[in-house]
């Protein structure tokens, strides 16, 4: 009997959720055939069959999160065991460990206790949780670095998982009812919907908390006149060339970053240096169904507008389908977030640690603008919000940077000059 176990698919993951099985007990499978789909904090991956044989048993219910090393299903192999092949694509990262087992041995691993989760809590907090039969792994920590505090445990026991949830105050408009205790009918508590706080959601929370607690954020706002760029895009469209505004933003960003390299930088605290990156890898914040995912458009400085446009489309699509590889989500030097299509006029975006800056592009709308000649005209205006690490850069530099960016967007001819 072969045990198909969840292996560390990469980047030190410790757990994954079993999404669904491609096979059922009794099915014949061939080596490398996909058996089960699992989701880690970062990606969805398929675990392939280590051998040709018959599926004997599925040990883990779908929807269950299991630790690395847990046996997910059992296969009765025919003949020699196939060592996991070096295949390409996302599946390549989903290695599977195989253990030969004798028939007599009980399937103990199926019920093996879960490995240690990295829950931060003081011993006293754990004691309180244990005494009250609270599974501390289910409690959301609100302390430093997400530590579970005693208050969190008590709050969990009362049924409120998130902090600052207060019960609705009882309206004081029923004095008659309050007068007789028997007459008081307690309003039944409507149970809250429970959303598991794990996977990508938990990963986002962790990254955001880390960024916000380690980087002193400052956000600058700027308004940019989009009229000329929109006209240019319209002109190109009439000629059959469709390029998204964001592709122009990325190009203008690279030009502005070359003038103000401090925003394409990383602070290396340990060695007390600021690294000004010479490559421009732009993170694209994407709102996928799984949550916020940030694929990285690599080497934006070496690509044409058309290349940027098509590559961006591809990355967005992969992000939405959860098929991005780890490599496609690493190595960003600055991040942008295009919330314009969704609306909004301003935000305070959180920097994608360890980068120095993030820029959000907001909705473009027609506004009455006063010209230098004191005339009122209608222009298409867009706000941008740029958060930066105040340890690395100062406000004046940030303003100069956004001014430079605005100049290139407002006057696409200047952008052409830089691109030639």
């Amino acid at each position: 009997m072969l045990e198909v176990k969840l292996h560390d698919i990469g980047e030190g993951m410790t757990e994954a959720e079993v999404l669904h099985y491609f096979v059922k007990p009794g099915d014949s499978v061939v080596a490398d055939q996909a058996l089960v789909e699992v989701q880690t904090d970062k990606m969805v991956a398929e675990l392939p069959s280590p051998a040709t044989g018959t599926v004997k048993e599925l040990l883990i219910k779908t929807g269950t999160t299991v630790q690395v090393g847990t046996t997910i299903l059992l296969i009765e192999a025919e003949g020699a065991v196939n060592v996991p092949a070096q295949t390409e694509g996302p599946v390549a990262e989903a290695a599977v460990t195989v253990e030969e087992k004798t028939e007599e041995a009980p399937i103990a691993t199926a019920t093996k206790p879960k490995g240690p989760l990295r829950i931060l809590a003081a011993p006293y907090t754990r004691k309180i949780a244990r005494e009250n039969d609270v599974d501390i792994e289910q409690v959301t920590g609100t302390g430093p670095a997400g530590r579970v505090t005693v208050e969190d445990v008590y709050r969990f026991m009362e049924g409120g998982q998130t902090p600052a949830v207060e019960s609705t105050p009882i309206p004081a408009a029923q004095p008659a009812a309050a007068a007789t205790a028997e007459a008081t009918v307690e309003t039944p508590k409507v149970p809250a919907d429970v959303i598991p706080f794990k996977g990508i959601r938990k990963q986002i929370a962790k990254k955001m908390s880390h960024s916000l607690t380690t980087i002193p954020h400052v956000t600058h706002f700027e308004e940019i006149d989009m009229t000329n760029l929109m006209a240019l895009r319209k002109e190109l469209k009439e000629e059959g060339i469709s390029i998204s505004a964001v592709a122009f933003f990325i190009k203008a960003l690279v030009v502005a970053l070359k003038d103000f390299p401090v925003f394409n930088a990383k602070l290396d605290e340990e060695n007390e240096v600021i690294l000004l990156e010479k490559e421009y890898h732009v993170g694209l914040a994407v709102d996928s169904t799984l949550g916020l995912i940030v694929p990285v458009l690599k080497n934006a400085h070496q690509k044409t507008l058309l290349q940027i446009h098509s590559e961006m489309k591809e990355l967005n699509e992969k992000a939405r389908q959860g098929t991005l590889s780890g490599n496609e989500m690493r190595g960003g030097t600055i991040t942008i977030s295009n919330v314009g299509p969704l609306g909004s006029i301003a935000a305070t975006p959180i920097i994608n640690h360890p980068e120095t800056a993030i820029i959000a592009f907001h909705k473009t709308k027609k506004c009455a603008v006063v010209t230098d000649d004191d005339e009122i005209i209608i222009r298409s205006m867009m706000n941008i919000s740029m958060s930066f690490d105040h340890r690395v850069a100062d406000g004046a530099t940030a303003v100069a940077f956004t001014n430079r960016f605005a100049e290139l967007i407002e006057n696409p001819k200047k952008l052409w000059l830089e691109l030639m």
């Binding site: 003081a122 011993p123 006293y124 907090t125 754990r126």
Partner: protein, 340 residues
């Protein structure tokens, strides 16, 4: 002979006298010299001169040269002679001028003082009390300021006692003299004349191996001994102004440690600061932390903080204050564990 300043007062029908810590030591020695003929003091210049800190002042004049013996300048000789006296029925109380001078006698202590009882299967015991002023803060030259308690708590066979008040000093010293086994009695020279206290007359004992709570609070337990007790109390007072209340425990005995008083307090507060002026590495503070892990781990709300001397020889007087734990450093540690 100098007249020791003494006032007599009545409190709770017990006669007491207002004494400094060093006077309380003298009182304990005088009391036991009178009480038990077997008690004999030995040390350098302790007779005519009354000792380097005048702890034995007047005792030779009163009890004679056979009971209060001026010895040659030889720590190994003093301790070795004491072992011989002890196994032959006497109760020697050798004085080492400064704890830092005890190193030449180390071999005698490690191989004889602490082992005779074990080696003779309890046919012989070594009832002796090694008195030694210790610690920094009095602007003494090199080696004089060492706080070397950890060398001795590591040696099975000898108890280590360290009082912080005159009343405890007398009671613990008498208990040590009455103990059938050897005791190292560390006297914090910084507190020798720091304050006075009403000390009971006559014979009384403070139990060896029992700590004392000297301040009551709910949030943090501060553990100290000897000269660090006033520092700990001072810091606890300052923390109180910020709304943090502390249990302050004076350990009084470093071997054996009073496990119960530590566990009781720590299980109440869940937060601990250990203060000692000895070097941090391998200091007694580490044993206290390991004890807490053993008895009270599940009660801990924050990792234990230590405030100690640094891992360098105690520096000369110009830098002494920078070496010693200060109320400010202790207060910072209290805040740190409280806000963890």
């Amino acid at each position: 002979m100098k007249v020791v300043e003494r006032e007599t007062v009545e409190t709770n029908k017990q006669t007491t006298r207002s004494l400094t810590l060093v006077q309380a030591v003298t009182d304990a020695l005088g009391t036991m010299l009178a009480e038990d003929d077997r008690v004999i003091l030995l040390g350098e210049d302790i007779g005519k001169n009354g000792g380097v800190f005048r702890a034995t002042e007047g005792l030779q004049a009163q009890y004679g040269e056979d009971r209060v013996v001026d010895t040659p300048l030889s720590e190994a000789g003093i301790i070795g002679s004491s072992v011989g006296l002890a196994v032959n029925g006497m109760i020697p109380i050798p004085e080492i001028q400064f704890l830092g001078f005890i190193y030449p006698a180390f071999e005698q202590i490690a191989t004889h003082v602490t082992r005779v009882r074990m080696r003779t299967m309890s046919n012989y015991t070594v009832p002796m009390v090694i008195r030694a002023p210790y610690g920094a803060g009095v602007r003494a030259p090199e080696i004089h300021s060492d706080s070397a308690e950890a060398f001795f708590t590591h040696m099975p066979g000898i108890k280590v006692v360290c009082p912080s008040t005159p009343t405890d000093a007398k009671g613990l010293l008498i208990a040590a003299i009455k103990d059938p086994d050897p005791v190292l009695f560390m006297e914090p020279m910084r507190l020798y004349r720091a304050f006075r206290e009403d000390v009971p007359e006559g014979v009384y004992e403070v139990e060896i191996g029992k700590g004392k709570k000297v301040a009551e609070g709910d949030d943090v337990t501060v553990i100290a001994w000897g000269a660090m007790v006033p520092v700990a109390r001072d810091a606890a007072e300052k923390a109180k102004a910020k709304g943090i209340t502390c249990d302050v425990i004076d350990m009084r005995t470093l071997f054996p440690l009073d496990k119960d008083i530590i566990a009781e307090s720590v299980q109440k507060t869940g937060r601990v600061v250990v203060v000692h002026e000895a070097h941090e590495t391998s200091g007694v503070g580490n044993d206290i932390i390991s004890l807490i892990n053993k008895t009270s781990f599940l009660y801990m709300k924050a990792p234990v903080e230590k405030v100690t001397g640094f891992d360098v020889p105690v520096p000369f007087f110009a830098l002494e204050d920078h070496f010693l734990p200060t109320p400010k450093r202790v207060e910072e540690a209290i805040e740190k564990v409280y806000r963890f």
